[in-house]
Structure formats: C-alpha cells, structure tokens
C-alpha cells in the first residue's frame, strides 16, 4: 500500500530522517515508536506531502505522493492542531469535511451519531469554537474527522496522547474494529508502548531518523521494546 524508497530529510545538513526502504502492506497496522526527535512526525509529514523530501519518495498505491493528489481521497489523517480549522465549531468543521468528501447530510448525521459515545458529550452542541476546546477534545475532533470518510489508509500521530483513559480505551476498540472489519491500513505513532503494541501488528523503532527495529508484534514485543528504551 505504501512504499518508501531512499527517503531522506535534512535541515541544514542535519539529517533528521533516512529510510532507504520500507513497505507497508494493505491492512497492516504499522506502529511507529521512538524518542522525541527520532523523526516520527517528519516521516508522517513526508507521507502526507506536507514537507519536501531531500531525496527519495513515498509511493501510495504505487504512485508518488508528490505531484499527485489521488492519495488524499483514500487517506485520513490527523497529526496536530494544524489540521483543524480552529475558528469553526466542531459541527461546522465536520460539515465542511463531509462536504468536500461528497458525503450526504444523512452520512454526516450517521457519523455524528456513531461518534456520540466517543465525544462523550463534550464536543457537539457546546457552542464553542475548536480553538476553545481542551487539547484532548481538539484531538477527538481531529481523529473523528480523519475517520469520517472511511479511509483506506489512516495516519495518526500520537493519537492516545492527551486523551482521557475512557476515550483511549474507546479509540483502541475503534481502531481494532476498523482493522478487522474494514481492513484499513494504519500508521500510528506513539510514546505509549503499551497502547501501540496492543493496536499494531508491526512495530518500527526510529532512532535519530533511522529504522533500528522492525518487529512483528508478539507476546514478547512489549518487553523487548521496554528493554530497548530503558537506557
């Protein structure tokens, strides 16, 4: 589904990401872990064509994401608050997203109904702009918007961070359902080794921009990762 070839990104000759080769298969749930500055977000931004790579490319369904916009139609993503239009209310934002994705009013209503539990009564109908929501609730809006269109690929940067425990559990359940029922390809980064090993069946560890581990999740993975990071 996603192929990476010779991808590097450098800022002022300081290489922050260097991935010679990486393949993510359809339906795979790909977890990305690494300490701050390891290049997780940079990698995701390159996949979403938000920054320009120095060399190499990212292929989505065998097409370079640079100079082509087809991937936008089957990719849902949420990296940070920059993805939100913060002067809108959550309702307006969802309406906008559903509009540009060509969803009907019925689709939107159904979506809002499905996410009622996820929002926990804190997002919809509060007469607040997105910029006035807490960071946890902003994240809920962003993740929900990314899921709205039933994407084939889902890219989430630290989705569990700043969510309350209840929502974390709900999100994990939701992501697992999507994997099993809709065969969605997922790219998830996280600092929480517990969560990410639970959700993802493949874990890649980045260190200073390089892939240092690439493991299929099994019962020992968590221990293995904990040992690696316990320096």
């Amino acid at each position: 589904m996603i192929k990476v070839k010779d991808l590097t990104k450098a800022y002022n000759s300081n290489v922050v990401l260097n991935i010679p080769k990486l393949q993510i298969k359809k339906g795979e749930s790909f977890g990305l872990v690494g300490n701050n500055g390891a290049g997780k977000t940079t990698f995701f931004r390159l996949i979403l064509d938000l920054i320009r790579a120095n060399t190499g490319m990212v292929l989505s369904k065998d097409i370079n994401v640079v100079g082509n916009e087809n991937w936008k139609f089957y990719t849902g993503s949420y990296l940070d608050e920059g993805f939100l239009i913060d002067f809108l209310t959550p309702e307006e934002y969802f309406k906008f997203i559903s509009g540009i994705n060509g969803l009907s009013k019925g689709d939107l209503d159904e979506f809002l109904k499905n996410f009622e539990v996820f929002f926990n009564g804190e997002v919809i109908g509060k007469k607040k702009y997105i910029r006035e929501l807490s960071s946890g609730n902003q994240k809920k809006v962003g993740i929900a918007a990314a899921l709205m269109t039933n994407p084939e690929i889902l890219v989430l940067d630290e989705p569990f961070n700043s969510l309350d425990p209840t929502t974390q559990i709900r999100l994990k359940k939701l992501l697992k359902e999507m994997q099993h029922e809709k065969n969605v390809t997922m790219l998830i980064s996280s600092h929480d080794l517990n969560q990410v090993t639970e959700v993802c069946d493949r874990i890649v560890v980045l260190h200073e921009g390089n892939i240092v581990h690439d493991i299929q999740t099994n019962k020992d993975t968590l221990k293995e990762l904990e040992e690696y990071f316990a320096v």
């Binding site: 938000l50 916009e69 936008k72 939100l84 002067f87 006035e132």
Partner: protein
C-alpha cells in the same frame, strides 16, 4: 468549494480574537474606524474635485497620471513592511481531498482583501468621477479606472511574490528606496522625466481603449508567477515567510548580568519585549509618539495655554511607558502561574517593572530634548511631566495593571491588536493622564502658570522619593489580587 472558502474567510474575520472583546471597546473602535473612513472619503472627494485648481497650468488628468508611477513605487515599499501575506492558514486544507489549484487560487484571492487595495480607491474614484469624466467620455473614464485598478492589483500580487523572495532580506527594499529617491531627484532636476513616462502611459489608456490589454497582461503575468511559485511547492515550511532568526543579545548584556537576581529578572522582561511581535510593534511605534510634538508645537493655538502642552508632555515621555506598565502583568499571562509558583521575590519583581518603566520614560525624555527649539518653556513642561511620569504615573499604572486580568496572547497579531485590553482599563487611564492638568488648571486660571508647573514637578519628586512606600501599596494589592489575576490569565 469556493463557497466553503468564502464562508471560512468570513467566519475567520468575524470570529477573530479582535472582535472577542467587550462591546464598549468595539463601539469606540468602530467609531474611530468610521471616522477614518469618513475622513478618507471626504478628503478624497475634496481633493478629486479641486485637483484642477491645485495645478492650474497643467492638464489635470495628465498631471495625476504622472504621479501614478511614484505612487505605485511607494505603495510597494509600504506594502512590503505593512501588508500581511496570508499563506499560513492553508495548513488545515492541505491533507484534505481538495485540488491544489483551488487552494492556491484561494490563497491568492485572499490577498485581494488587503486594506492597501482599497485605500487608493478613495482618491482614484473621485479623480475618475470629477476629473477624467469631465474631460473624456464615460467609456474612456471606465477604461482609465480599470487600468489603474488592475495596476493596483498587480502591485498587490507583485508584493506577495517579492515578499516571499526577499522577506529575509529587507536590505533589498532599502536599495529599492534609494533607487527610487534617485529617480525622483533625476525627475526633479529635469534630467529624465519618469513622471512624463507615467503620464504618457496612463493617458494612452484613455486615448486608445485597446491598450487596456497591457494592465490586464501585467496583472495576469504577476498572478501566474505567484501561482507557479506556489504550485511548485505548497509546503507550509517553505511558504511560511522566514525571517532570519537572530537571537537578541541586548538582554544578555554584561552590565545587566552584574545585577544578579534583579539582572536576571530584567533580562527576562527584555526578552519578553524583544521576542514578541506585539511588544516589538510597540517599541517600533515609539518614534511616532516622540514625533507627536512636531505636530502640535509649531501651531500657535496650542501654544496659548499650557494645559494642552502638559497633556502632550505626559504623552511624549510617557507613551512607551504607558504601553509597558499598564499591561506589564498581562504580558506575562501565559506564564503567570510560573511566576507565582517559583521562588520569585514579588517585591523585586515589581521593582524591576518599575525600573524598566522609568528607564523607558527617561530615554523618551532625553530623545525629545531637542524640542526646546520650539521654546524653552516646552522643555520645562516636558521636564516636569517627565518627573510626574517617573514619580507618579509609573507607580499608578502598575497599581492599575493589577486590575487587568485579561489574558494577552503576545504571539498573535501586532498593530491594531486589542486582544486582552479591556475598556475599563482604558477608562481608568484617563484620570492618571489628566491629573497633572487638573493640578495645573487652578494655577493657570489664576494667572500663575509657572506655579502650576512647579507643583506638578514637586508631585513627581515626592512620588520618586517615596517610591518604596508606594510600591509596597502596589505589592499589597498584587498579593491580594494574584488569584483573580492568575485565574483570568489562564482563561484562553
């Protein structure tokens, strides 16, 4: 899609933090904006109507056309410093299934709403109505107007492009300004008449309608350059206008370091002022406050009574200080909790603010000493006002500042940003301003103006001598109100 963009644009403007303040301030500001527009409108109409009388020996339309080239050049320089290029706000749209071309067209059309595109119309339209249409047909007037309008818009897009290329290098603008000055001199001494060229070009639009193709072509050309540029890389980190990042060194000054803990506090305050757009704007605007005198002193009517001169005197050496002291706590709203929880000596904290406030006033006073050229009495008045400012107003403002509990977002916006300023806060400032005038009035009215001035100076001296006692009162109030302040500052 365009419908969405327009609706978002509208909501963005309507919901911007600028409007999220209280009604009274909105009404006051609205009134001022209304006044400015009215003045521009009336000024434009009067100038347009009487243009031919200003230059009785020339063809008025050709004369106006001859100035256009310089207008566009100046316009470009002013836009470079003042016009905001809205590119950053596209980030939320980039990952969505929206065609890149639509986003780019949206970004570019957004720039059309700039104030600088509307301002010239206040004069161009009256000239078209009263002058061009008087000498030429309606059709010719329209062609002329549209040509000028297209050139204004071309300037807009040219600026957008240039700003992205040269924002990190404002020297280019300085060179451009020097070249322009050179051209004006050449013109002035009659060596080469660029204004003549300008006149011929713009007059030709009137005489030959097909020439309107030229401005249309220019406009399309600059638009396409911009479009191509953005299309080649619509990456937020690239289109964001990079300014060379320089870490200021003033705040790490050796002398400040020798002051120990107090020095560290001063350094933090200076960094706060130098590293935020909004506070920097205030510093940049200070010369305007200082030049205020040039506007009033030469005019005889203001020289009659000292009352008005005292008002100006307070303003000249106090303008910068007022902006600082009045909001000195709200400037720190984003980390006010840290000040309260860390081992910060609040007495010292307050004293640092007092010292910075009076330094600002002192610098302002010394810079305005040359005003004695307008009369030694002006220097005297400014001096007693300066004493009042450092002895009384500074402490008074710090006291009032403890009542300012609105969070201030320094990162955003600069000029005309009133976020975090309350009307009540403005209103309490008036008595502080007017106090020296009230002190002066009984003396002035009984024919003893110098007595009044002396008393103002004495009041200032008393404040200065007993500043510790007065600062203690401020400190007491600060300690009493810190919970209320911290709570207000936390509210986004």
């Amino acid at each position: 899609m365009i419908k969405w963009f327009i609706s978002h644009q509208w909501k963005d403007a309507k919901r911007s933090s600028m409007w999220q303040k209280n009604l009274v301030l909105n009404v006051v500001l609205g009134f001022f904006v209304f006044l400015i527009i009215l003045e521009a409108l009336v000024g434009g109409i009067v100038l347009g109507k009487n243009w031919h009388e200003i230059f009785p020996n020339d063809n008025p339309v050709e004369k106006f056309n001859s100035y256009l080239i310089y207008y566009f050049a100046f316009d470009l320089i002013i836009r470079f410093f003042m016009q905001h290029v809205p590119v950053l706000k596209v980030t939320p749209y980039l990952h969505l299934p929206i065609k890149r071309s639509k986003i780019i067209n949206h970004v570019l059309s957004k720039t059309l709403f700039s104030f600088f595109n509307f301002l010239p119309l206040f004069i161009v339209i009256p000239i078209a109505v009263f002058q061009v249409s008087y000498y030429h047909s309606i059709a010719a007037t329209w062609v002329w107007f549209l040509s000028v309008l297209f050139m204004i818009l071309s300037n807009n897009f040219l600026l957008v492009y240039l700003k992205k290329q040269f924002a990190s290098n404002p020297k280019v603008v300085g060179i451009f300004g020097l070249i322009l000055a050179g051209l004006i001199l050449l013109d002035y001494f009659g060596i080469y008449s660029f204004s003549g060229v300008s006149s011929i070009v713009f007059t030709s639009f009137i005489n030959n309608f097909t020439f309107i193709i030229i401005p249309i072509a220019v406009l399309s050309f600059v638009y396409i350059i911009n479009y191509r540029y953005l299309n080649s890389g619509l990456y937020p980190e690239e289109i964001r206008i990079h300014k060379e990042k320089k870490i200021d060194r003033i705040s790490d000054n050796k002398y400040i370091k020798t002051l120990g803990k107090t020095g560290d506090m001063i350094a933090v305050e200076l960094k706060l002022l130098l590293r935020h757009k909004r506070t920097k704007t205030i510093l940049y605007m200070t010369p305007l406050f200082l030049l205020y005198g040039l506007f009033f002193y030469p005019q005889e009517i203001y020289r009659d009574g000292y009352g008005f001169l005292i008002f100006i005197g307070v303003f000249i050496s106090g303008g910068l200080m007022i902006n600082y002291a009045n909001y000195s706590f709200s400037y720190e709203s984003s980390y006010f909790d840290a000040i309260l929880t860390n081992n910060y000596d609040l007495r010292k904290y307050l004293k640092v603010k007092f010292m910075i406030a009076i330094s600002m006033s002192t610098i302002s006073f010394f810079l305005t000493i040359p005003y004695f050229l307008f009369g030694i009495d002006i220097l005297l008045i400014n001096f007693v006002c300066f004493l009042y400012n450092i002895g009384c107003l500074s402490i008074l403002l710090l006291y009032l500042a403890t009542y300012n509990k609105k969070r201030m977002d320094l990162g955003k916006g600069a000029a005309f940003n009133y976020q975090g300023m309350g009307a009540s806060n403005w209103l309490v400032m008036f008595p502080a301003f007017l106090l020296p005038i009230f002190v002066y009035l009984p003396f002035g009215l009984t024919g003893n103006p110098y007595g009044g001035i002396l008393v103002i100076g004495i009041i200032g001296m008393i404040g200065l001598i007993f500043h510790k006692t007065f600062l203690n009162l401020v400190l007491k109030n600060l300690i009493k109100r810190k919970y209320i302040m911290a709570e207000g500052f936390r509210e986004k």
